[in-house]
């Protein structure tokens, strides 16, 4: 578009034809008051706060919806503009309650701010103020609609960004109410952003209600750790406790949004099950002890039980920091063990490393096609899903291969239902179809495969795509042939020249991989480690109730008399008490400095937002002291930055693929245990409001009619402790357990 020149408040500035006045003013740092305008939402022009004087126009014009034209002269602060702005301010205030002292938005309220500048001091309004009854919209967002100024930002956010048309403006005139249709609560993984977009105190954070005043809090920039994005956030704390998390703008990462998980998980930090004191188990009895005693106990335990260094095994969750991963593997390796792993929820580790993604977050926005395999991206990687959604709104098409039909917030063209045990053969068929269509040689092992129409259609779409992506998701982790599947997808991407987005391992797994928190050739991995050779386990942020894919073999191993289990953990629970011998209380999110590496490989470090509670200590410090006590060399760190610098020098493990062609028995009924998004990590699991939200309460075992018959279960039953839901939207011979409950073993 052509460059033009306009004049705002006497300054000559360049602009693009068609840009709005407000966009130019914002760029130039000229302040124009506004309520309905939001740079990431469509323009509504309904609040009228941004009225400015455009020379030649008889009336004041809204800056947000008036396109600039060459030579236009705009005055944002002359009498005409001020008169209009003050008028609008007065109208907005006549029905707005004067309850700033008890409003959680107080101190960060756009209305309050603008009123200071544009309001007149005495209101001449003598009539009764409007009171709006509330419906409530769920566990996360506190509504007080009497304060609503009808800017419709929340409505537009829902429809345009979250992809849920649940909020609307009902009624008309003065009686318009911004509300959802029914009171079931908002069903979105991004709902909390409505709080941020609401300029006033109509929508505020429910868990934050009355907790603190904004100006009393200490704000620290930080990075969220629940997914691969590493959304930029600000933690706000009061008296040493995180009270609220809000989004921090970063266009190439999270734009201005964050997921509800990133926003509300902090509540878990003050859960009653926090590990506050070091504890040791002596003769089956747990005792609180001082750190020194606990450390000595730990060192003795390690030395006494590991007859040789290879009897040590080290396991961690996907949510530790780069520094913690690095030091922990360094400790193990210096000690002489290569038994290190964080992939504790994967059932097939034969590929020795994960498939590398070949696309960046912002590139996802401009793809023309996506094939999603094994993922409900919306709940698992909300911000990446948001980018896919943007692409779809721009015309991209999406096909999925999943074992259940999911409620994506964008249109999918073709959803191929395939039970986990059949995904491999499905991909074989697609690969064969591709070979046939492209005219390349069909490998021998595909000779018997016969693609059907659906496979051909998927292949056609892949071939037609110019800059598409194949997305691999979390659901593949529990697939017994996940290595073969990733290998096939790699091949498919190669022959179609498409990109790969690997979303299988979430959290901070990129950091774990980067520092080699995995066994090299000789070591044992998270599956093979559970045998009689491992006598000492060191667990970092691992919850034995939830995290292991093979719970039973882990428990069997831990409970063995001669096995010594050290747990560095922020929380305690029954299973930890049963399985561990010593608990070293560790700082959790926001309580220690650390580093996250995101999907793009971007390294983002953060400092502690608050001190960790009780006697708990940052993980990296605990590991350092243990290493010192074990008399290992090279642990003379003074701060975590040194750890980080060293960690980043280590080179990343390369993925290597064998030509895998696993045969599996696909007549068996398989069960796939998929955690609901707020049951993924130790902190979210304990975040009260998240757990009470709609998504937090996900807990169903989905099964088809005929499979239910084969299993002899019906709709009123529990399957592995989870309520059964019989539906057509799930593959045959398969049970999809989507749950917030701890994993249960089949038959157990």
């Amino acid at each position: 578009m052509s460059e033009i020149e306009i004049e705002i408040d006497g300054n000559l500035v360049k602009a693009k034809q068609g840009d709005s006045i407000i966009k130019i003013a914002d760029r130039e740092g000229i302040e124009v008051p506004r309520f309905c305008y939001h740079k990431k939402l469509s323009v509504a022009a309904n609040c009228r706060m941004c009225l400015v004087d455009v020379e030649g126009a008889p009336k004041a014009q809204p800056a947000c919806s008036t396109p600039v034209a060459n030579g236009m002269k705009v005055h944002t602060k002359n009498d005409k503009a001020k008169f209009a702005q003050k008028a609008v301010m007065e109208f907005l205030l006549i029905n707005h309650p004067l309850d700033c002292p008890i409003c959680d938005q107080g101190g960060e309220c756009e209305l309050q701010d603008v009123a200071m500048e544009y309001g007149s001091d005495v209101s001449k309004f003598n009539e009764g103020k409007r009171i709006v009854p509330d419906k409530g919209i769920g566990a996360l967002i506190q509504t007080d609609m009497t304060r609503c100024i009808h800017c419709t930002r929340c409505v537009r956010f829902g429809a345009e960004v979250a992809g849920i048309v649940e909020m609307g403006g009902t009624g008309r005139g003065e009686g318009v109410k911004i509300e959802p249709f029914l009171t079931e609560g908002i069903q979105s993984e991004l709902s909390g952003n409505m709080i941020d977009v609401c300029p006033v105190g109509a929508l505020t954070s429910k868990p934050f209600r009355y907790e603190a005043r904004t100006w009393q809090m200490n704000a620290v920039p930080s990075v969220a750790r629940h997914d691969l994005v590493g959304s930029n956030i600000i933690t706000q704390s009061y008296r040493g406790k995180v009270k609220r998390v809000v989004a921090r703008d970063n266009d190439s990462i999270n734009e201005t949004w964050i997921s509800d998980r990133d926003r509300f998980s902090y509540e878990g930090l003050s859960h009653e099950s926090r590990a506050l004191k070091p504890k040791v188990k002596i003769d089956g009895e747990w005792q609180e002890v001082e750190w020194q005693e606990a450390l000595d106990f730990t060192i003795d335990g390690i030395k006494n039980n590991a007859k040789n260094p290879e009897q040590l095994g080290v396991l961690a969750s996907k949510y530790s920091s780069l520094e913690e991963y690095f030091l922990m593997q360094k400790l193990a390796r210096s000690f002489g063990s290569d038994n290190i792993d964080f992939r504790i929820d994967q059932s097939d580790l034969s590929d020795g490393g994960s498939l590398e993604s070949s696309i960046t977050l912002s590139e996802i926005e401009s793809i023309d096609h996506a094939l999603i395999v094994g993922s409900y991206t919306r709940l698992e990687q909300p911000m990446i899903n948001h980018r896919i959604r943007k692409a779809v709104l721009n015309g991209a098409s999406v096909n999925t291969i999943n074992s259940k039909q999911f409620d994506f917030n964008f249109n999918t063209e073709l959803d191929l239902l395939s039970a986990p045990q059949k995904i491999l053969s499905t991909l074989h068929a697609i690969l064969k179809s591709l070979h046939l269509k492209i005219g390349t040689d069909v490998p021998k092992y595909l000779s018997k495969v016969i693609p059907d129409d659906v496979h051909n259609k998927i292949a056609d779409d892949l071939i037609a795509s110019k800059n598409g992506v194949i997305v691999l998701g979390e659901h593949l982790n529990s697939n017994p042939s996940s290595s073969a599947i990733t290998n096939l997808i790699f091949q498919i991407a190669q022959i179609t020249d498409l990109k790969i987005a690997n979303l299988m391992l979430s959290g901070n797994s990129h950091a774990a991989e980067r520092v080699g928190f995995m066994p090299t050739k000789n070591g044992m991995n998270a599956i093979s480690m559970f045998n009689e050779n491992t006598r000492v386990f060191m667990l970092m942020d691992v919850d034995c109730d939830y995290d292991f894919i093979n719970l039973q073999s882990a428990a069997d191993c831990f409970n063995n008399e001669d096995v010594f289990v050290v747990s560095m953990s922020s929380f305690e629970n029954e299973s930890l008490h049963t399985n561990a011998n010593v608990i070293l209380p560790m700082a959790s999110y926001y309580e220690a400095s650390g580093t996250h590496i995101n999907f793009d490989g971007l390294v983002q470090s953060f400092s502690a937002s608050v001190k960790s509670p009780g006697d708990s200590k940052p993980g990296w410090k605990i590991i350092k002291v243990l290493a010192d006590l074990l008399e290992l060399e090279g642990f003379d760190y003074i701060n975590s930055t040194q750890v980080k610098d060293e960690a980043l020098q280590s080179s990343k493990l390369k993925s290597s693929f064998d030509d895998v062609n696993a045969e599996i028995d696909d007549s068996q009924i398989t069960t796939h245990w998929q955690y609901a998004p707020y049951a993924t990590d130790s902190v979210s699991r304990r975040a009260k409001a998240l757990q009470e939200s709609n998504i937090g309460m996900i807990n169903s075992a989905f099964v088809s009619k005929s499979t239910a018959k084969r299993l002899d279960i019906n709709g009123d039953d529990l399957y592995l402790g989870v309520p059964v839901s019989i539906t057509d939207a799930v593959a045959e011979d398969y049970v999809f357990v989507h749950t917030n409950q701890a994993r249960r073993v089949e038959g157990g």
Binding site: R48, A60, F91, K124, N126, E127, G169, R172, G175
Partner: protein, 433 residues
């Protein structure tokens, strides 16, 4: 009188296809279908005729039609605004009831000129009788092969449908009407973009009033100049006026533009027995009220009414006599705008309620001295600051009523009752007779 839109009034079965055809109807459309008229020729005639939009704003119709990107290869739409809701206005209803084919033909011609193959007539939801008449007419026009695809062997297609409203004055505003046609709340869109670029279903659209469309066939069949000559400068042709209020025979009249108001009053039988003229709203409730003296000196055309300080608007002449309480009347109008504000933009949503409540309070006998100036200042703050013209429409009566009849308002506030004997507050509470 009654030469254009009401041409068939008084004839037997005025609404029927036969009557319409027998009186020269569909001649223009047939000519077009035979390829004997071009879009450009039609636009020239319309410009010559001086026809201005009859929906209220008075925008020249020929000019409006020429704005449509007729050569763009996208679906385009023609929409007729039969939402008639302006208090005091009811002539579009009679056009639909007595001359529906003129609207059909006018819309078909518009479709041809702008290369739009689909049209919708948005009829207000309460107009069931007019709706049935119009549907009947549509059926006949389809039967006669005058609507549909590739008509009479020509490449021209035009399909026409009715859409029924469900009760909202704001849907008369053209962009609110489009929203409503799309199955949404009738909330006006901000402009730009204008409907000619982004209209119905996001496609280029032209919207005209019922009377505007109904005038087109006659103009084209008798010539633009003929029409222009009926009226006066700047106001070509005839105009339908609804004359209501304190007159003996309230009725619709189609008279030449420039007819003196006094003449129109006479046509309506003059004032009721023993009454004297007090005030006149010349163009519907949204236009400023005029005093008797000013009204008696004006003629019914755009310029003269503008000079008098009001607007021709929708041509709804509301006559008030010496027994009319201006405070109560204004309160009633304020209630209307308060009730009908769509609620989208701040000044109108909040301001109309404020105005209405103040006036209601005055009616209740609780007025304060400052209220009048506050009413004026609130009106001033609404005016020009809203998305659509409803805000201005709500402000205009307040300003003109108070400015022209301030004494009466002051009396009411001071005495807690009307200067008019026996007037009482009836807005919210129904008092006993």
């Amino acid at each position: 009188m009654n030469e254009v839109c009401f041409k068939n009034l008084g004839k037997e079965n005025p609404a029927s296809f036969t009557t319409y055809e027998a009186n020269g109807g569909y001649q223009v459309w047939r000519k077009i279908l035979k390829g004997e008229l071009t879009p450009d020729e039609i636009i020239v005639e319309l410009k010559t005729s001086g026809l201005r939009g009859r929906g209220g704003a008075g925008f020249p119709t020929g000019l409006k039609w020429s704005f449509m990107p007729r050569n763009q290869e996208v679906q385009k739409y023609v929409v007729c605004n039969s939402d008639e809701g302006e208090p005091g206005t009811c002539h579009d209803r009679d056009i639909l009831r007595y001359n529906p084919h003129s609207v059909i033909e006018g819309m078909a011609i518009a479709g041809f000129v702008m290369n739009a193959t689909v049209g919708y007539n948005y009829i207000r939801g309460e107009f069931m009788e007019p709706y049935y008449r119009f549907e009947e007419a549509l059926k006949d026009a389809y039967k006669a092969g005058l609507l549909g695809k590739t008509l009479q062997g020509s490449p021209i297609s035009f399909d026409l449908y009715t859409h029924l409203g469900a009760g909202a004055y704001i849907c008369g505003e053209e962009t609110a009407l489009l929203e409503s046609l799309e199955g949404k709340k009738g909330q006006p869109r901000f402009k730009p973009p204008f409907p000619a670029n982004v209209g119905l279903f996001g496609k280029p659209t032209t919207i005209n009033n019922t009377e505007t469309f109904a005038s087109v066939p006659e103009i084209l069949s008798r010539g633009g100049q003929w029409f222009a000559d009926l009226g006066v400068e700047n106001s070509g042709g005839t105009k339908c006026f609804s004359v209501t209020g304190s007159v003996k025979h309230p009725a619709n009249f189609e008279v030449p533009m420039g007819t003196p108001f006094s003449k129109l009053l006479e046509l309506a039988g003059g004032l009721k027995e023993g009454r004297t003229l007090k005030a006149v709203i010349p163009g519907g409730s949204s236009t400023p009220v005029l005093t008797a003296e000013t009204a008696m000196n004006m003629t019914m055309d755009y310029d003269s009414i503008a000079n008098a300080g009001s607007m021709l608007g929708a041509g709804s002449v509301i006559v008030m006599d010496d027994t009319t309480c201006m405070v109560k009347t204004l309160a009633r109008l304020a209630h209307f705008y308060y009730d009908e504000s769509c609620g989208q933009c701040t000044p109108c949503r909040e301001g109309t309620g404020w105005l209405y409540r103040m006036l209601q309070r005055i009616l209740d006998g609780n007025g304060k001295k400052e209220d009048l100036d506050l009413l004026l200042s609130v009106s001033e703050k609404i005016e020009g600051n809203t998305i659509c013209a409803l805000g201005d429409a709500a402000a205009a009566p307040v300003v003109s009523f108070i400015n022209n009849f301030r004494d009466e308002f002051e009396y009411y506030i001071k005495n807690g009752k009307s200067i008019i004997e026996g007037e009482h507050n009836l807005i919210e509470e129904a008092t006993s007779v």
